[in-house]
Amino acid sequence: MDEIIRDLIPTKTGFSEGVLIAGAQNDSVVVLGSDITTSVGLNLFANKYPEKFISLGIAEQNAVGIAAGLALTGKIPVFATYAVFSALRTTDQIRISVCYNNLHVIIGGAHAGISVGPDGATHQALEDIAVMRSLPNMTVLSPCDATQARILTIKAIMECRGPVYIRFGREAVPDFTDENLKNSIGKAQVLQDGRQASIIATGHMVWMALKAARILKLEGIDVRVINMHTIKPIDIECIVSAARETGYLLSVEEHQIYGGLGSAIAEVVVKHYPVPMDMIGMNDCFGESGKPEELLEKYGLTANAIVTRLKNLIHSFPR
């Protein structure tokens, strides 16, 4: 994998292409602008379909309500801004206007995770998965690269019927998934098989998990790598198989360990097939300014950190 040179593309690019493709296929797609249209990649749609781009300014709560009104009258609204605003500032509006009404509204959360970098803690969404996945009717997606972001965005618009939250990051990251790989909402992808432990990652951390798996392989540890691109509905079968067949689970996410992917996996494991597990993520703290790679290093979200934590997990619970 590392041997092949990968294109570095931000996941938002995949999202923005996906919205454009779905917009060309379905006339009902409309896009809501919350001022940072270019920053979240929706300028592509706005330029191509100016009459279906609705500018709403810096007023996210209103935008969510307007999305609900549009959906109630047959439109498929796409609303995206930084995840701290699209998911967290607007939680009550999403809960009542969108989820309680069970409306097909696409909510994009850009700049998720600590790798947002120099903007610092205010702009690093680290709680959005926890909040969004707790809402009834909501589907939560967290694609690992631009290709997957494009595919899942199209599926969210064309196939889903209720509300969907899609999370993506700011940094250009390796665009490594094959578009012919099966992408189904609610079905995790086993990117690499293994028997001694499983790393279940989401978003940008999937690439890190693959890197960690390569290092572990050199050390004689054979791990399964799972891309959990759908946080809700979570793929119970895939998690239970990983628990049963590999015996150890390690979750990795750019998100608080409380309520995120790790929690979602633990909920499944505890109920269906308890095995030793550890969770890598933000440990109940805010981020800070810095270069993305410096922050990932400081907060233990690197391939090396994953390697260390996985070995510790296996040693702490000998078979």
């Binding site: 409309v30 009459e51 279906k52 609705i54 500018s55 709403l56 300014g57 007023a59 709560q61 209103n62 935008a63 969510v64 309500g65 307007i66 999305a67 609900a68 009104g69 549009l70 959906a71 109630l72 009258t73 047959g74 439109k75 609204p77 009550d92 509006q93 809960r95 009542i96 206007s97 309680y100 009404n101 069970n102």
Partner: protein, 286 residues
């Protein structure tokens, strides 16, 4: 739906709706009586005269939409819908009961005919109405969108985000109606958080502001007529109402925002409603 144009018939209808509101709340044992009674005339004017709708075909695409932003006055919406023929009047007595389609605050998931949206968290309804009005413009449809707002609710910031966006998008197909009863749970709006000067605020946000006595059908219908002539601006109707209107012993008393009568009070309240109706009809004849 056949329109009622006769003021006397509208008045009688509004008192039948008030009686249903009272009975359904007594049966429910909890809920919001004051605001529901205060809006009975506005709701009657809307559903029996102004709105373009078909109770027998609640999902008719061309219908005017009514968004109740203040979900807590659901009893007056339910009673009006039932009296308009959306569902059987007897169902009103399931209000707030387990498995009822008549939730304490409207829940769209219960599929009660005539309910356009769930609501109850204040401040959200105007945004939903703006979204529907934008949709109508995009599709070049003629339907209009009405949003019922509370005066205390105007303290929510989202209302003003929505107001700004409605003017920006020139939504002359949107009419907001403010239930200006001057009261909220803690007391007078002027004591809790002043919202005046109200007309000027809306005008400054780019709206056409109208005022009317929310218990005078002639004034209400005239305001609706004026609203139709707006070419590029959304219209707000500030309807001056009396919380508890029709039962004079509780009128203008904020303690009745979220109270229902006890068994001992019911007969008296029903008499008061009958008496007020007679006075209103007499007023009309003089």
């Amino acid at each position: 739906m056949n329109k009622i144009n006769n003021i006397e018939s509208l008045t009688e209808t509004s008192y039948r709706i008030r009686m249903s509101v009272l009975k359904s709340l007594v049966k429910a044992g909890s809920g919001h009586l004051g605001g529901s009674l205060g809006l009975a005339d506005i709701f009657t004017a809307l559903y029996f005269n102004e709105l373009n709708h078909k109770p027998e075909e609640p999902n008719w695409e061309e219908r005017d939409r009514l968004i109740l932003s203040i979900g807590h006055v659901a009893p007056v919406l339910y009673a009006t819908l039932a009296h308009s023929g959306y569902f059987n009047i007897d169902e009103l007595y399931t209000l707030r009961k387990l498995n009822s389609r008549l939730q304490g605050h409207p829940g769209r998931d219960k599929n009660l005919p005539g309910i356009e949206t769930s609501s109850g968290s204040l401040g959200q309804g105007l945004s939903i109405a703006v979204g529907m009005a934008i949709s109508a413009k995009l599709d070049r449809k003629a339907f209009r969108v009405f949003a019922i707002l509370g005066d205390g609710e105007l303290q929510e910031g989202q209302i003003w985000e929505a107001a700004m966006s409605a003017a920006h998008h020139q939504l002359n197909n949107l009419i907001a109606i403010v239930d200006r009863n001057g009261l909220q749970i803690d007391g007078k709006t002027s004591d809790v958080m002043e919202i005046e000067p109200l007309s000027k605020k809306w005008q400054a946000f780019g709206w056409t502001a109208l005022e009317c006595n929310g218990h005078n059908f002639t004034e209400i219908l005239n305001a609706f007529e004026t609203a139709k002539s707006s070419t590029d601006r959304p219209v707000v109707m500030i309807a001056h109402t009396v919380m508890g209107k029709g039962i004079f012993s509780i009128e203008n008393n904020h303690l009745w925002h979220g109270r229902v009568p006890t068994i001992n009070e019911i007969a008296d309240f029903q008499c008061q409603l009958d008496e007020t109706l007679k006075i209103e009809i007499m007023k009309h004849h003089n």
